[in-house]
Amino acid sequence: MREKVVEATLRALQRAETTLPDWVLQRIEEAAARESHPLARHHLQFMLENVAIAKAKGLPLCQDTGLAIFHVQLGRDLSLDFSLAEAVAEGVRIATREIPLRPNAVHPQTRQNSGDNTGPGMPDIILDYVDGHSLSLTAFPKGAGSENMSLVGMLNPADDPIDFIVRSVAKRAANACPPLFLGIGLGGSFDLAARLAKRALLNMPGESLEELQLLERINSLGIGPMGLGGDTTALGIKIEKAFCHTASLPVAINFQCWANRSATEVIQ
């Protein structure tokens, strides 16, 4: 079983780094077809060309191969007699050598690079227990350009969280490689809001009226691909909510660039 987890990690990363999920690709294609700004349309078409080159040559589509983040759904009927974190870390080390990936993980102060994308706290595994006896592992490599623009706001309950989101996106979008996918965490506590926002990215895309209206409002800003103007600023929004203290209103925005990479492997 441990070997299977190591292999699944390698395979999921290989696919996540060199291809995009079909639905993501489809959203970019649709946006390119309806974009009215010529420059923005060229950008979207070049992104699609880049995806095609990466797939054909097996190359990472972005040189920022990201921080090793995984979502694992573990069947309740399974019992593991090994460390899941250690098995996934081994898969990451092999993937770093074999795909290869750029070594990105460094100590936060000395900036010493481990050379293999692992280290204390890395990989980061978001773990859920689900019914059944299978293990599903999603690789979600996260680049720094979009992650660096992410934020948590501890709002006054009298503030409008949607206004806060639109204003933050208007200021920060250009650095995050738009068109964006936005994971929103609404409520909870300081850290729960952030985790909800990350989970929102994993549960993309949102289709509720609230999510679609926010998407439309953000696209009406005219920021466009790469922040150089256009109709296409965001391609998807998902909002995850939790109850919060009556005195607080935490809002987290996790930015994701257009290259919304992820791939899932299931072990039966």
Partner: protein
């Protein structure tokens, strides 16, 4: 919106004629530098001549001497070094997300390469050499030979026009209006 195909090193006249919104393809040497190389150059100067150079904000993925993926990184992190880098002779900074426009006035331009397009960029680049390798793969100063590197958009020109700022301002107006 005019399309230009230029060779590096760039001349003052090249910089003068490029206007915000123009499309540029570059051929010739490009130098990469990001966070650590900038900090080091501030302390110790550049290991290469940057006269007329195009400096690329990029932390590439390299295997041996092969460029695998090499799109732009966020330029904003290097904003604190713009003035001294331009004083070293750099005439074009390439990146994504933009830089404050004022230091570019009358001497240099900022070129935006489509972010996230590392595999496409790699097809237009080959390795000529490397400096500061002790900083690690992403942070080293790589010397690339570019062949029709682009499309890049002149996002900040030498005449005071800054496309990012215009888009941001119009977005804020749209939000308030």
């Amino acid at each position: 919106m005019t399309e230009y195909h230029l060779r590096t090193p760039l001349s003052g006249a090249d910089v003068e004629k490029l206007l915000a919104g123009d499309v540029v393809f570059l051929s010739g040497p490009l130098f990469t530098a990001r966070d650590k190389a900038h900090a080091l150059m501030r302390r110790a100067g550049s290991p290469v001549s940057l006269e007329g150079a195009a400096l690329y904000h990029c932390g590439p993925l390299i295997l041996g001497d092969r460029v695998l993926s090499a799109g732009p990184t966020t330029s904003g992190r290097m904003a604190r070094y713009t003035d001294e880098i331009l004083r070293m002779g750099v005439r074009a900074i390439i990146g994504k997300g933009g830089l404050p426009g004022e230091p570019f006035r009358s001497r240099a331009i900022y070129l935006a390469y489509p972010g996230g397009c590392g595999a496409a960029a790699a097809q237009q680049l080959r390795v000529l050499g490397v400096h500061l390798l002790e900083l690690g793969m992403a942070e080293s100063l790589w010397v690339f030979e570019a062949k029709e590197f682009g499309p890049m958009i002149v996002a900040v020109d030498a005449h005071g026009k800054d496309l990012y700022q215009e888009v941001r301002r119009s977005a804020l107006e749209q939000m308030l209006g």
